[in-house]
Amino acid sequence: MSPAFFITAIVTILAAATVMSLRNLVHCALAMAITFSGIAAIYLQLNAEFVGFAEILVYVGAIAILIVFAILLTRSGEAPEKSVLTAGWAAGLVVSVLVFAVLGWSALNSTALPTTVTAAPKITVKKIGEALMGKFILPLEIVALVLTAAMIGAVIIALKEDAKTENPGRKS
């Protein structure tokens, strides 16, 4: 447990708490970007370069922007007046602490996982690529197919239903 880990962990958890507690949704989305960066930093500390960079590329660069766009296009942007906390927040806190305690206790006492630390294998990006293109080619292709289908669906939803109303001169 290095000091760097503690700093990133505290920043990540604080940002995550901010996401839940702020009133303005755009602020929440930006705090979520900090959380994602913190998670990426933790991956980097675990020497998982590829996962860390992919986390930044996908989550900070794309997902956070997507969320922000969705908020801007669907809401007026004004923060709600009432508090974000519901009346039963204290009970919720107790329940979540209890659940976490039970999970932590059972994880610490379980014998399913080996407790001795083995040396981490040196995973290069090349190995990840070879695994994706060799052993895991079928799951990769299925994921690609699902994503393509989702994209086509999104395009069809966004299409104009009546093409005749389109202006002839400024055809897009």
Partner: protein, 398 residues
């Protein structure tokens, strides 16, 4: 002699670090590298702004700045002293924050803009053994960090509470996301052929000579197409003309940094130019051989001189394009990205694959060049076909 000159900065770094006690050496070394980047590139930026103003002036048949030289003397330096008063003016201007603005985010946006841009320099190889951190996935790091700039643009546009700012930010993000795809896909061809995401490996693959000519990727059919696609996409990524819609002065004042003044504006300006240098530097590394020389009899010139002369050449092309091309319309911009550049980049990946697996040299040249030309002509015609050129009718302004 050659080696001393080529490695002068590396040796100077080692010499300076040797004064520091042993446990502090990695820290001191990275501090020195960071200060190198923080000194060299902003200085380069200030020179380039004058270069740009003078260059555009020359192209538009006027003088450009030609007065300011060394103060209290008659030396004018052709106006190249202009950046000092420009910089001082930026630093001393009043910092105006709109009353309705979201103060914290408005303050953070320029900082968030500059951080990823500066981080991107960490993986760029400026010369032989002159890469700060040689990540195994350096290329991925560069693109991942570049994606974070969009957040800063959004923060600036949204927090200003200004219609023009928000419009500019929306335009900027839409444009950046659209052009990021051809940018990355055109770089993927290089990764496929070299078989590594490490920038040092990519340069090593190009640092070979046949008949005295280097194996730069731009000298192959797929590499040429990839470089052109990369260059166009990098113009759009750095918001330069003809893709400067996000800050189109004549339409939306200054886009997402309309409400910024003084030092914060200077930070945006700096961030934009440093981003342009970084993305050009990556283009040089991927396609133009990085710090290697184009012909084998010029290898005695130090590697960093090659890198910076290529960088200046590319920046000059950026300036040249800015001075000559008009701005695109938003729908043209999107059409161009999605209907022309994206399919062409995908076809280019296929061509690179064919190039990689064909063994006879002249055969693969013929096949790949034909494919590149055919794809270009076919997609270009498709784009023209949809234009339906004719008398323009307006919906709102008649």
């Amino acid at each position: 002699m050659f080696n001393t000159l080529d490695q002068i900065f590396v040796n100077a770094l080692h010499w300076l670090v040797s004064f520091v006690p042993e446990p502090w050496r990695p820290l001191a070394s990275s501090m020195l590298c960071i200060s190198f980047i923080l000194m060299v590139f902003p200085a380069f930026f200030s020179i380039i702004t004058i270069f740009e103003r003078k260059g555009i002036g020359r192209i538009q048949n006027r003088y450009g700045p030609n007065r300011v030289g060394i103060p209290f003397t008659k030396i004018r330096l052709c106006g190249f002293g202009q950046f000092v008063p420009d910089g001082l003016k930026m630093l001393t201007k009043e910092d105006i924050v709109p009353r309705a603005a979201d103060k914290l985010i408005h303050f953070l946006a320029p900082v968030v803009m500059l951080i990823p841009v500066l981080l991107a320099y960490a993986v760029l190889p400026f010369g032989r053994n002159m890469t700060m951190t040689d990540y195994d996935a350096g290329l991925l790091f560069f693109f991942a960090i570049g994606g974070a700039v969009e957040i800063a643009v959004f923060m600036a546009g949204w927090s200003s509470r200004n219609k023009y700012s928000l419009l500019g930010a929306m335009r900027a993000i839409a444009q950046m996301i659209s052009y990021e795809i051809p940018l990355i896909l055109s770089a993927v061809t290089v990764v496929m052929v070299v078989g590594s995401l490490k920038l040092e490996d990519i340069i090593a693959a190009q640092n070979q000579y046949t008949y005295g000519i280097a194996h730069w990727h731009v000298f192959t059919p797929w590499g040429l197409l990839g470089f052109v696609l990369y260059f166009i996409a990098s113009l759009a990524e750095s918001n330069r003309t003809p893709f400067d819609l996000p800050e189109a002065e004549s339409e939306i004042i200054a886009g997402y940094f309309t409400e910024y003044s003084g030092f914060k504006f200077a930070l945006f300006f700096l961030g934009e130019y440093l981003g342009m240098f970084a993305i050009s530097g990556l283009g040089i590394t991927l396609f133009l051989g990085g710090w290697t020389s184009p012909v084998s009899f010029l290898t005695w010139i130090p590697s960093y001189i090659w890198f910076f002369s290529k960088l200046i050449t590319l920046i000059f092309v950026f300036i040249w394009i800015r001075a000559t091309l008009p701005r695109l319309r938003m729908d043209q911009l999107m059409n161009f990205a999605w209907k022309f550049m994206l399919p062409l980049a995908l076809i280019n990946i296929l061509i690179a694959g064919i190039w990689h697996f064909m063994n006879v040299e002249w055969q693969r040249w013929i096949v790949c060049s034909t494919l590149v030309l055919a794809a270009y002509v076919w997609l270009g015609r498709g784009l023209m076909h949809q234009q339906k050129l004719g008398k323009r009718t307006y919906r709102y302004a008649e």
